[in-house]
């Protein structure tokens, strides 16, 4: 079976600082992988390379059967990404942002499920820029819902969440894993209970100098 993610020989340097050195990672269907490590160790850079927000110096990324570089739109159709920090676009309500996601991912009916996931009540029709941090996170989680993706990439998804929202997110990820999607997330030690509940395979990045080793499943 084709892996949900196949990243090979990813290398990235910012000036003289080599953050990623020849990193490989394969995530199978229904598999969840957690990258754990100190701040500045390159987790977000690696996730950026996987999602196309950071261009690696070398290496290849495949989302399912699609190459991120050669088939940028098709690869992204199979990808859902939750960044660590996100400014809501100004001038739009939560409902309008979710409708946008539903349309872009070709699942207009998915807006309803996304609204239920966000559970923002009347605030969903307010301008998203006025949301609290927690509400904004919930809105962006809901943006993951429309359509079926092969890979979900989440950058520190549990940060700043209350217990109920954590449970809701875990439940969503569990359902996606059961449906055959792969999940890659960056996490910290305090997220261990959620990672245990999801059965996540951990990869610990000990060096603050960056990820410089292979992340193959056999590790």
């Amino acid at each position: 079976m084709i892996a949900a993610l196949n990243a090979s020989h990813i290398t990235k340097a910012y000036g003289q600082v080599r953050v990623l050195v020849n990193v490989d990672l394969e995530i199978n269907r229904s598999e969840i992988v957690a990258l754990m490590g100190p701040n500045g160790s390159g987790k977000s850079t690696f996730l950026g390379c996987i999602t196309g927000t950071v261009i690696p110096d070398s290496g290849d990324v495949w989302i399912g059967q699609r190459n991120l570089k050669r088939e940028p739109v098709e690869a992204r159709r199979r990808l859902r990404y939750l960044p660590q920090e996100l400014d809501a676009p100004s001038g739009l309500t939560g409902t309008e942002i979710l409708r946008f996601y539903a349309q872009v991912f070709g699942d207009p009916a998915g807006q309803q499920a996304a609204s239920e996931m966000a559970d923002l009540g009347a605030a969903q029709d307010h301008l998203a820029t006025t949301y609290s941090v927690g509400m904004r996170r919930r809105l962006m989680f809901a943006g993951l819902v429309p359509g079926d993706a092969e890979l979900y990439v989440l950058d520190e998804p549990f940060a700043g969440l209350d217990a109920e929202s954590r449970a809701r997110l875990c439940d969503f990820l569990r359902r996606r894993l059961e449906a055959g999607s792969g999940v890659l997330l960056a996490a910290h030690d305090q997220d261990e209970p959620e990672l245990d509940a999801l059965g996540a395979r951990r990869h610990r990045v000990e060096s603050s100098a960056g990820i410089a080793h292979s992340l193959k499943p056999s590790d």
Binding site: T53, R76, Y81, L86, D87, G91, L92, Y101, F105, H126
Partner: protein, 395 residues
């Protein structure tokens, strides 16, 4: 009785370079509109009617200053960025200097717009240029502008000092109570009056000098009394910036917080205007989002669009060729269309992770949509080219 002790704020090195957070030109939108109206009104007078033009100057000058004063003074207290910078260990003077760094170019721009309106509006209807009249009107306008700067600085400082909470029963407390008029909170009441007060004081201080200038241009000699009446307000104005800065340093730490609170309270629930039905019929989801943001984040978007297309059509199709005033008017209309769209375009340039990972073509992942760009730039470029071509052809 509640006693509130004024917080003098932390002391640290000033950082005047904080001015960079604002994009210049935002506060020029309203002045550009008023200057265009002023130009047209001046142009409508007969060529030798200097008295009417003076009257238009005494009305139009304060109006032009008033048009952009809120935008010019916004960084001192109102700007969200000010509230965000407030927790940082920056001296009050740094906040003052960074705000002034934005305020001065904006005022200079407004004054330049006024000079341009006066010059074009006076030259336009005349077969032979009335240079004497232009010199006089420009001198009168610049004399007012010289007083506008210190008055605006003083008022910005005063708004900070008076935008605080005072002990119950004290004179400032009772005054705040009286002047709110039910419009806002006590602490924010000063902001209802400050802009008009700044322009009013500037007019009052400039008036003796302006009358002396008129007298001199009419060929009368200026006596010592005239000169004293003109110079005395000038001496008073010299002390205003320093006083303004001192008042600002006293008030900023509380006034900004009260103002932020008042803005949130007044704004009510953050419900935007409803999405027009035609927007949801646009096939591209990104175009829908971009157009919706244009409609919501810039004022009178549809009216401005109609104005640019309408004025472009009129100038392109009318029998007589384009004239200088009509070209100026079209340029102002184009500015009125494009400048308010800058906040929407500005956000597009930021690293947009929310678009970057979506299954959209590369340009759209950067927030650009070809039809939205055509709608934005098409009318100004097309009609500008047609008007320019007609102007070349008629020469």
């Amino acid at each position: 009785m509640t006693r509130v002790v004024a917080y003098t704020g932390p002391v640290s090195a000033p950082r005047p370079d904080l001015a960079v957070w604002r994009s210049p030109g935002t506060a020029m939108f309203a002045p550009a509109l008023v200057a265009a109206g002023w130009l047209l009104a001046l142009g409508a007078t007969t060529s030798d009617d200097l008295a009417s033009r003076r009257a238009l100057l005494f009305v139009g000058g304060p109006l032009l200053l008033m048009a952009g004063i809120h935008g010019r003074l916004e960084p001192y207290l109102h700007a969200p960025e000010r509230a965000r910078l407030l927790p940082l260990p920056l001296a009050a003077r740094a906040h003052w200097l960074s705000s002034r760094g934005y305020h001065l170019p904006q005022l200079l721009g407004t004054v330049s717009l006024g000079v341009a309106a006066l010059a074009v509006g006076t030259l336009w209807p005349s077969a032979q240029p009335q240079w004497q009249g232009i010199y006089e009107l420009t001198a009168l306008w610049l004399w007012l502008a010289v007083f506008a700067l210190p008055c605006e600085l003083l008022i910005a400082g005063s708004a900070a000092a008076l935008g605080r909470r005072f002990p119950i029963g004290s004179l400032p407390y009772r005054t705040q109570e009286k002047v709110t008029g039910g419009w806002t909170s006590r602490e924010a009441a000063v902001h209802l009056y400050a802009p008009a007060l700044a322009v009013g004081v500037a007019v009052l201080l400039a008036l003796p000098g302006q009358l002396s200038i008129t007298r001199a241009f009419e060929g009368h000699t200026l006596r010592a009394g005239h000169i004293a009446a003109s110079v005395t307000p000038f001496v008073v104005a010299l002390a205003m910036p320093t006083a303004g800065c001192r008042l600002y340093r006293r008030g900023i730490w509380e006034a900004v917080a009260w103002l932020s609170e008042m803005i949130k309270t007044l704004a009510g629930p953050p419900l935007p205007v409803a999405c027009p039905p035609w927007v949801s019929h646009i096939p591209s989801p990104l175009a829908q989002i971009l157009i919706l943001r244009m409609l919501r984040l810039s004022p009178f978007t549809r009216l401005r669009f109609v104005a640019v297309v309408g004025s472009g059509l009129y100038l392109a199709l009318r029998t007589a060729g384009p004239t200088l005033p009509s070209a100026v008017t079209f340029t102002v209309v184009v500015m009125c269309w494009l400048l308010p769209l800058r906040p929407v375009a500005g956000q597009r340039g930021r690293p947009q992770t929310w678009l970057a990972t979506l299954p959209l073509p590369a340009a759209q992942r950067q927030g650009r949509h070809v039809w939205v760009q055509v709608a934005t730039w098409g009318p100004p470029v097309f009609f500008g080219f047609v008007i320019f071509a007609r102007w070349i052809a008629t020469r």
